[in-house]
């Protein structure tokens, strides 16, 4: 009976703490997300990004660059800002290795070859034992 009391007290304290944490989280997290979104997707952010790209384009045009080249270069310039996906992919979990393309195929073949070797080796051993 005596040993139950501190446990109950602790459970009550834990519940109170969780309540407080949830209270803070439910007000702070949406605000944080809103401000992050506003820094990328707001009228002001769009305008300033557009101004930067437009100034770049104008400079290229003024210096005598052909129209299509100037557009292509501006597109690449914007691509630097908008390559968020690539940045986030690179900032993924540490230690995780992503293999793609030819290397992935090579790796797949190598794994397949080694598995076959192992299986053949075990089959040989089993035959020898018999």
């Amino acid at each position: 009976m005596l040993s139950e009391k501190p446990e109950k007290k602790k459970a009550r304290m834990d519940a109170g703490e969780v309540k407080e944490i949830l209270g803070v989280v439910s007000t702070e997290i949406p605000g944080l997300i809103k401000s992050i979104i506003a820094s990328v997707f707001s009228e002001e952010a769009g305008r300033s990004m557009g101004k930067a790209a437009a100034a770049f384009y104008k400079e290229l045009k003024d210096s005598g660059m052909p129209e299509n080249v100037a557009v292509k270069m501006t597109e690449d310039y914007i691509g630097v800002f908008t390559s968020l996906g690539d940045i986030l992919k690179k900032a993924g979990p540490k230690g995780k290795v992503t293999v793609s393309g030819e290397k992935a195929e090579e790796l797949e073949k190598e794994i397949e070859r080694r598995v076959k070797e192992k299986l053949a080796e075990r089959a040989r051993e089993a035959e020898e034992e018999e």
């Binding site: 309540k19 209270g23 501006t74 968020l84």
Partner: protein
């Protein structure tokens, strides 16, 4: 004992209310995101056209800017799937 239990119930109920509030705020943010992206896209396009860029090219570039939203949402979904 009764007091302790009622305190626990109050904590659980208010915790659940906070979770509901958090989820509803996130849902509102998600709903208004498309509208914000459209406004940002228009402002972006307008600035490019103002400096003499052909309308078609400006539209293509602003579409690239708007695609950033989908990219961000996909990354978020992927990371949520990885954590779960």
């Amino acid at each position: 004992m009764g007091e302790g239990r009622s305190l626990l119930i109050v904590s659980v109920v208010s915790g659940a209310a906070n979770v509901v509030r958090l989820l509803s705020s996130l849902f509102v943010i998600y709903l208004t995101l498309g509208w914000k992206v459209r406004k940002a896209k228009k402002a972006f396009e307008k600035e490019l056209i103002k400096q003499g860029m052909p309308k078609q090219d400006a539209k293509r570039m602003s579409a690239k800017y708007a695609a950033l939203k989908d990219e961000a949402l996909n990354t978020l979904k992927r990371s949520m799937r990885t954590f779960s």
